[in-house]
Symmetry: C2
Subunit: 145 residues, 2 copies
Amino acid sequence: MSQQLDPLSLEVVDLMANLVALFHKEYEEAASARSLTGAQAKVLALLRRGPMPMRQIAQTMSCEPSNITGIVDRLELRGLVARQADPDDRRIKRVAATEAGRDASAELRESLNFARAPLAALEPAEREQLRNLLQRIVEGAKQPR
Amino acid sequence: MSQQLDPLSLEVVDLMANLVALFHKEYEEAASARSLTGAQAKVLALLRRGPMPMRQIAQTMSCEPSNITGIVDRLELRGLVARQADPDDRRIKRVAATEAGRDASAELRESLNFARAPLAALEPAEREQLRNLLQRIVEGAKQPR
DNA sequence: CAGAAAGGTTCACCATGTCAAATATTCAGC
DNA sequence: GCTGAATATTTGACATGGTGAACCTTTCTG
C-alpha cells in the first residue's frame, strides 16, 4: 500500500510541505489582520460566488454541519453574512455574504501576497512549466486513491 | 503594495491553493488515523531530528510558548514524548521523542500518500524541473517581504 | 397518513490558540 | 556578590474550531 518514493519525489513532497506551511501562515495572518479567523475567512470566500446552504458549506469544508452553525453565527453577529430562508424548502437556510462581507473577503484576497515576488522572478516559460506540472499533480491527487 | 499578478501567475497561485487544501486534508486524516491531532503530529515530526526546547518549538510553529505546554502535555501523557532537563540551563526543558513517538511519527510520514501516484507519473526530468522550480519559490517566499 | 429522511440547531466535550500573571533561573551592571 | 532585567516555562481565563448525539421542523415516500 505504501510503496517507496524515490529520493527526488521525497524532495518534492518536502518542498510542498514547506509551501503548505508558508501559505497557511500567510492566510491566517491576512485574516487576522482583518479580525477574522481562518475558518471565517474561508466561509466568506466560499460565499463570493453566491448564497449557499449550511449543509453545502459543511460538505465543502469537510466538517460537521453543527460546526458551521457557530462560524456563521459569529459572522452574522458582525454583519458580514445573513441567513436567508430558501423559498423552495423551508428546512434550508441559505447563507449570503452582505456588502460588508463581500468587501472584507475581496480585500483579504487582494492582500494575499503569497509567492508573488518569487513567482515574478520566474521566466514566463518557467511559469508555464510550473503551471503544467502543478496541474498534473493536482488532477492526479484529486482522483480517489 | 499589492501589484497585479499576470494571469499565468494567478493560475499558479490557484493551483498552489488547491495543493495546499489537498495536502492539509490528507495530513489531518493521516494523523487522525493514529489518534493524533495535526498539531501533535507536527510537533512529533519536529522532534525527529532530536530534542528541542519548548521555546524553539513555539518559534518554529509560530505560536505562543504557552500553547506548546498543552500539546506536549498530551503527547507526554501518551508516552510519545518526554521532557528532559537541560544540563546547561535549568530554565530550559528539552522535549525528546520516545521510541514510541519516533515510531508513530515515522509511520505517519510513510503513510502520507500525498501526490504519490501523480508524482510517479512524471518523467524523472520533469520531477527535477518541478523540484527546482519549487525550490526557488519556497526560497523566495521565505524572504521577509 | 405514518414513518423515514434531511437540514439546522443545541449541548457537552476536547484541542488549539491567545494573553496576562506567576515562578524559577540566568545574565548584566555596578 | 547583589540587584534588577531578561528568559523559559507554566498556569488560568477565555474565544474559536471541531466532533458527536439528541432534538425540532420540514419534506419525502410508501
